[in-house]
């Protein structure tokens, strides 16, 4: 059975061109890029090329790119760097819908005495700019706001938010892991101090990411040791990963326009057809600017894990914000922050497409999913007109 992979916000297929580029560095060219000999020097040149490719994709200087082990390390490094550089400032601003790489770090700092403002979102997943502006204070060390949400694809107004922070002399960090390669952005016009991306979300390898640090923005190393990455990130480089990331970034920029239009067309068809064929379904973040590849859709009175496992029977891979997929017992913090009603929140499914997604794959989902929902609804004690009285919850 052919796998239909629609979980690209979790990870992406490594592009064949990326694998080809990385291949020699697993075996033939194993030199340490820090070595003085030419065998290591060749690898160093390839890392320099990767840095140039990432810099070109971001619209920044190559030396502003720090390679990391992935998005989480880069997020951690940016946040800890900003607070260590400004020990007198004890306030941070973020949102309730960040990735755990940011939220967990904020919770940690909260435990260390930092005051954190968590900005809420409305039912469409939008931030309130007035609330944001009001949250900025002289003692704010950093604003950390994701570029686009991984669960709903909702894009935040990062350029405007970063400009407002800069006007007040506040550092700004954005986790652009989901947005990278899906929307056009250039650091020439984006007044952020730190930006994070991850290799495996753009058809590159896992275990490698990059942190952009603006030239004059403060930085304190998160991982200390050798002099690698100009002393900003110690440890022998993940050479194959970095080389793969460079190629993936180059490909992402090549496909930015055409690939995204194709994804958006397929995503829109999937969305419109599902809304038509499955009664009592709703799109989370429907009326806002979203990533072209993401559809988060909820079906009332059914539970997400059950949907996912029945889709899996047909070889269809998707994701869910339901509680039962995570073991946390609470549904997605993003959907809860958006106030998605309980009738729908447990039955949410995220489809995330890639440039490899085909018409035929979308056809198959449109054929199978409505039947799966009907089957589970037939088994459910709830139905329209038979909604239970819901308890008040915190």
């Amino acid at each position: 059975m052919k796998t239909i992979y629609l979980d690209n916000n979790a990870t992406t297929r490594t592009a064949p061109e990326v694998i080809q580029e990385m291949q020699p560095f697993f075996g033939e060219y194993y030199g340490n890029p820090s070595s003085m000999h030419s065998f290591g020097g060749y690898v160093q040149q390839k890392i320099a090329l990767a840095r140039e490719r990432v810099g070109a994709g971001l619209g920044c200087l190559p030396e502003e790119v720090v390679f990391t082990s992935g998005g989480t390390e880069a997020d951690n490094a940016a946040i800890f760097s900003a607070v260590q550089a400004q020990p007198d400032k004890k306030h941070l601003v973020t949102t309730r819908v960040e990735h755990p790489a940011v939220l967990s770090t904020m919770k940690y700092l909260e435990g260390k005495g930092y005051r954190i403002t968590y900005l809420g979102v409305d039912q469409e997943g939008r931030l309130d700019m007035d609330e944001y502006i009001d949250s900025l204070q002289p003692e704010t060390a950093l604003v950390s706001v994701m570029y686009a949400n991984n669960e709903t694809g909702v894009i935040f107004p990062v350029p405007e938010m970063a400009a407002a922070a800069r006007d007040r002399g506040i550092l700004f960090h954005t986790d652009a892991v989901q947005a990278m390669g899906k929307i056009s952005m250039s650091l020439n016009d984006l007044p952020v101090d730190y930006l994070v991306l991850s290799g495996h979300k753009i058809h590159g390898p896992k275990g490698v990411g990059a942190l952009y640090v603006r030239k004059k923005s403060p930085f304190r190393p998160y991982i200390m040791g050798g002099h690698q990455e100009r002393g900003r990130r110690a440890g022998t480089e993940n050479t194959t990963g970095i080389i793969g990331l460079g190629k993936a970034m180059e490909l992402a920029m090549t496909h930015l326009e055409s690939g995204n239009k194709k994804m958006a067309d397929l995503r829109d068809r999937l969305e419109q057809e599902l809304l038509k064929s499955v009664p009592r379904s709703r799109v989370n973040g429907e009326n806002v600017n979203r990533l072209p590849n993401t559809l988060n859709i909820s079906f009332s009175y059914v539970e997400g894990e059950a949907i996912l496992l029945l889709l899996d029977q047909d070889g269809i891979c998707a994701s869910s914000g339901s509680a039962c997929t995570s073991g946390s017992l609470e549904p997605s913090h993003v959907l809860r922050a958006m106030g998605v009603p309980f009738t729908h929140v447990h039955g949410s499914i995220r489809f995330s497409l890639s440039r490899y997604t085909t018409d035929q794959e979308i056809d198959l989902v449109l054929d199978r999913l409505p039947r799966i929902i009907q089957r589970l609804r037939d088994m459910s004690p709830f139905s329209a007109g038979n909604e239970p009285v819901l308890p008040n919850k915190k």
Partner: protein, 281 residues
Amino acid sequence: MWEYTDKVKEHFINPRNAGSIDDADAVGEVGSLACGDALKLFIKLDDSGRIKDARFKTFGCASAIASSSVLTEMLKGKTVEEASKITNRDIARELGGLPKEKMHCSVMGQQALEAALRNLQGLPPVVQDLEGEVVCECFGVTEEQIRKAILENRLDSADDVTHFTKAGGGCTDCLPEIERILDELKGQKPVPEKPSALKKPLTNLQRMQLVTKVIDEEIRPSLKKDGGDIDLIDIDKTKVLVALRGACSGCPSSQVTLKDFVEKKLKDRVDEGISVEEVDS
């Protein structure tokens, strides 16, 4: 991805007895849309009082559906007495095990069965806030439910309590309270599956004291919620003589209350051999 046994997968993909029974003799309903899982269990008896048919409607994940499905299979052909002894561990065991994070699905099966058996006895559904203080506000779990889960399943960590009851799985504010309950119960022996079978025979005095305690602490408060009451008149070895009072005395279901609730409770808590009779007094 969860590691489900083949039997869990089989019952999820091909659930047995999904649906409802229009003329069910008993219906038990637990869970909620807000909490993410719910089960409605339907039971139909045959003329001899055995369970002829059992069906379910479940809103929930694969293990919730599989637990419901296997429970209905287990119930068929059993007497009510036999059915009342099914525990969540039996349901999980029948499925070849559940991931520990999913044990609350088997607990939901046991609770739906208990609710259905209450319904069969003519007793009203359990109203949570009358059964004890709510510890976990996110999932509406009471202290009593937590204590029961700890003792019945030999739980020794707050994580385990969350896996079995969901308590503490939301905002986590109640975790210190769960820890307190765990500390308090530490050292207490787990509730055995068949308490009476493991107990030493009671002396007459012990039996009288225990019957009095169970009536005062467990039976009377339940009856009072429905406007009824009970008086202990006499105890003759294993024969317990009582008088029903208030709403219970004129209730058409008083014999059901007497046998399926009062006598059953005393059998479970005191002595398997106990019989209860109503006397005028």
